[in-house]
Symmetry: C2
C-alpha cells in the first residue's frame, strides 16, 4: 500500500480520482435489459420461462420454490447455522424496530388538524444473487427491515442452477427472515418479473437487493413504475487512526474489506507516520495468510491507500469528503469525535467493533451507501419500506380566516381555478 502525505488542499482531487473507478460504457447492457424487460412486460410468464432456458440453461416446471424444496433446504443446513441465523435475525430486528416511525398529528390552532400518516409499502421484491456462494446475511438484511415495516408480501427472487435448484442457504435465510414467496428467476428477467408480474404473480411496488450489472441496470430501467433502493458500487472501508491504534487490527480490517472484490477499496487515514508504516508491513504479512489472495492483491494495489494527515481535523475533513461506506474510528475516545463525522454509511467505534461485526451481527443494516453517496443517502432501513401521506383538515371557520390570502396567492401564480375553488365555499 502506498503512503501519501495529505494537506488540506489535496482533498478534492483524491475524491475525483476515486469517483472515476466505476466509469464504463453500459450501452450494450442497457439495450439487452430493455429487450428483456419489455418482452416480459408484454408476454408474461412464457417469456420468463424462455429467458431462464436461454440465459440460465435451466428447464423449470415452476417459477416458485415449493414447500417441499423448503423442507429439503432446512434438512441440508446444519442446526448450528440455523441457530446463528436466528440469533442474527433477533439482533437485526431489534435495531430496526427502533427505526419504525409512527403516524402523528397536531392541531396548533382551533379548527385545524394536520398530520403525517405513515404506512408500509404493500408488496416488496428482494433480489438475491446466485452463483456458488450464498450470502444469507444479505437475505436477512433486505427482508427484515421490510418485515419490521409491516410489508405484507415479500417476494424473494434468485437464479436457479442448471438443475433447477436454489441454494439451500438462501432458502433457509429467506424463510427465517419471513419471505412470503421465493422465485427462481435471476438477472434482468428476475427484476422484470418482480416489477410487472405474470399471470400468476402480482407485481411488487418496490425492489431492493444487490446484483450484477444486468440486475443494477434493470432496476434503474424499471424505476418509476416501481421503487428501488440505491444501486450499490464496490465496497469500501475508511479507517481513521491515531497513534493509539493497533496496526494488526487496522491491517486485518483493511484486508477484510479488500477481499470483497478487485474493485473494493480500503483506505487508512492516520495522524501517525509510525502507524502508517506498521500497517503497511502488517498488510503485506497478513495478506500471505489469506485465501482470497489474488483479489486482495488487486484491490490493495489499485484501490487502496494510506494517507498521513497533520491532525485529526484534517483527517475528518478528508473522511467527510470521501463519505465512505464504512468508517472505523480507531482513535482515543471515539465517542467524543462522533460529532465530527458528517458523511459515512456506518461508523464503527474503537478496537473491538471491526466492520465484519456490522456485516453479520450487531443489528444495523449492512446495505450502505457507497462511492461517496453517503453525502446524500442513508443505510437501507425500515424507512425504505414505508411511505408517508400528509393529512390536512380545516373547518369552515379556519378556512374563512385565510381564504383571501390563498386566493391572492393563487391569482399571483395565474391559477384562477385554484382561487375559485376557495371562493366557491364562501359565495
Amino acid at each position: 500500500m502506498q503512503i501519501t502525505g495529505v494537506e488540506r488542499a489535496d482533498i478534492p482531487s483524491i475524491k475525483t480520482s476515486k469517483k472515476d473507478r466505476e466509469n464504463q460504457d453500459l450501452r450494450v447492457i442497457d439495450e439487452r435489459v430493455k429487450t428483456i424487460v419489455e418482452t416480459i412486460k408484454q408476454e408474461g410468464e412464457s417469456a420468463v420461462f424462455q429467458y431462464i432456458k436461454e440465459l440460465d440453461q435451466a428447464e423449470l416446471d415452476s417459477l416458485f420454490v415449493s414447500e417441499e424444496e423448503i423442507g429439503r433446504a432446512f434438512q441440508s443446513v446444519s442446526d448450528e447455522m440455523v441457530n446463528i441465523l436466528e440469533e442474527a435475525k433477533d439482533n437485526i430486528e431489534s435495531y430496526h424496530r427502533l427505526q419504525k416511525e409512527q403516524s402523528w398529528y397536531e392541531h396548533q390552532k382551533q379548527g385545524i388538524w394536520l398530520g403525517q400518516q405513515v404506512t408500509p409499502i404493500e408488496r416488496v421484491g428482494v433480489y438475491v444473487p446466485g452463483g456458488k456462494a450464498a450470502y444469507p446475511s444479505t437475505v436477512l438484511m433486505n427482508i427484515l427491515p421490510a418485515k419490521v415495516a409491516g410489508v405484507k408480501d415479500i417476494v424473494v427472487t434468485t437464479p436457479a442452477g442448471q438443475d433447477g435448484s436454489v441454494n439451500p442457504m438462501t432458502i433457509v435465510a429467506a424463510r427465517i427472515a419471513g419471505a412470503t414467496q421465493i422465485l427462481k428467476v435471476g438477472g434482468a428477467h428476475g427484476i422484470a418479473t418482480l416489477a410487472y408480474g405474470t399471470e400468476n404473480l402480482k407485481p411488487v411496488d418496490k425492489i431492493t437487493g444487490p446484483g450484477n450489472a444486468y440486475v443494477a441496470r434493470a432496476k434503474k430501467y424499471v424505476f418509476g413504475d416501481v421503487g428501488i433502493d440505491m444501486i450499490a458500487g464496490p465496497s469500501e472501508v475508511c479507517i481513521l487512526a491515531d497513534d493509539t491504534a493497533n496496526p494488526e487490527y487496522v491491517a486485518a480490517d483493511l484486508l477484510a474489506q479488500a477481499e470483497h472484490d478487485e474493485l473494493a477499496s480500503a483506505i487508512l487515514v492516520t495522524t501517525s507516520h509510525e502507524i502508517a508504516i506498521q500497517t503497511q508491513l502488517e498488510v503485506d504479512r497478513q495478506l500471505e495468510e489469506r485465501k482470497r489472495k489474488q483479489i486482495l492483491q488487486q484491490s490493495i494495489q489499485h484501490q487502496s491507500a494510506i494517507y498521513v494527515v497533520s491532525d485529526l481535523d484534517v483527517g475528518f475533513e478528508l473522511i467527510n469528503e470521501l463519505a465512505p461506506e464504512h468508517l472505523e474510528l480507531m482513535v482515543e475516545n471515539p465517542f467524543e469525535r462522533l460529532g465530527s463525522v458528517q458523511n459515512a454509511g456506518a461508523i464503527f467505534l474503537g478496537d473491538y467493533s471491526p466492520e465484519p461485526l456490522g456485516d453479520y451481527w450487531a443489528g444495523p443494516n449492512h446495505t450502505l451507501p457507497t462511492n461517496g453517496t453517503a453525502k446524500f443517502s442513508s443505510p437501507l432501513g425500515v424507512y425504505d419500506f414505508m411511505k408517508k401521506a400528509s393529512v390536512i383538515y380545516y373547518d369552515r371557520e379556519a378556512l374563512s380566516q385565510v381564504e383571501q390570502n390563498i386566493q391572492r396567492f393563487a391569482e399571483e401564480e395565474g391559477l384562477d381555478g385554484h382561487a375559485a375553488s376557495i371562493r366557491k365555499r364562501f359565495e
Copy 2:
C-alpha cells in the same frame, strides 16, 4: 366528463391505462442532455456562459443574482405579497419542524452501544422553472424543508430572460425562504452547473425542484453523483365522495386540478349516481367561467373521469390502486375513514379542505408523488434533506461472547478475511 360504473374487477385496467399517459420517446432529449452535462463538467464556467447565450439568448456578466438585484426585486413586489409569503412560510416551517428526526442510541446489553446519527446534507440545489409565470409557492416548498433540516448552503437556480433578469417574485420568495445563492442558469445546463460546480461554485450534494423534460432528464443523468428528488409527472386529484358531498365544491376542485396543464388528471369516485350527474353538470357550467378554458377542456376530456362505485370499500380499493397525488375525502366523518387510505400523496378531509389550501397555505409540502408512485414514495420533506449513519460500539467482553458465531457466519460466506479480522482480536 364521462361517468363509468366500476366493479371490483375493473380496477387494474383503469390503472394500466392511466400509467401509459406519459410514454414518449426521450432518446433525442437524452443525447442532448448528455452533451450539455459532459461539456459543462469538463469545461466549467465558460461552457455555462456559452449555453446560456446559445439556448437562452442571454448575455450575462455574472451567473449570480447580485444583492442589488435582490433589493430591486423587493421594491417591485407589493408589501401585501411579501406578507402573504411570510405567513405561508411560517405555516410551512411549523409543519416541517415536526418531521425533523433526532439522532438516537440504545444499549440493550452491557458493553454494546448502537445508534443512528442523523445529519443534514451539506449543500443543496433547488431548480426553479422560469418563463412568464413565477411559482413562489414552489420556491418556498423546496427551500424550507432544507432550511428546517439544517442544510448550510441552499443554491437556487432559475433561467434568466433575454435581458439577463430573473423574475422578481422568484427572487423575493427565495430570499424569504433562506436561499444562500441564486444562480441564473436554467435547463439541463442549470442542473449540470449545480451537480459539478464551476471555478466559482462548489458542487451541491442533492438537487430538488420541478422543470421541463430537459431538466427532468438531466436530473436523472446526474443522479448517483448527486442525490435528486423524484421526477414529477402531471398533477392529479382524486375525490372520493358519498351522497353528503356538495357537487359545486367537487366540480370546483376537479377544475382547480385540471387547470395545471393538458395532461393533468381529475377523477371523481362516488357512491352516489346523483352526485356523479350533478358534478358532471357543474363541471360544464363552471368551466365556462374559468380563464384557462382551453387547457381545462383538454384535461377534462382526455385525462379525467367519474367512477360510480357500489360502496365506499370499493371506492377505497380503487383509490389505493390509483395511488393519487392528491386525495380529497368528501364523505361523512372523513377522519373515521383515514385508516382505509393506503396510497396517496396528500389527503384532504371534508368540505373546507380543498386542494389549493395545501398548494399554498396549510403547511404540508405540495411536492408530492404522482402517477401512482405514492405506492412507494412520500411527499418532499425534511427527511429528504437529512441522511443517517449507523453507529456500532462493542467492548472487548461483548465481542468475545459472539466472536465464534461471527467467524462461523463469515466462513459460511467464504470470506476468511472477515473471520480473520474478528479472530485477530483474540489471538
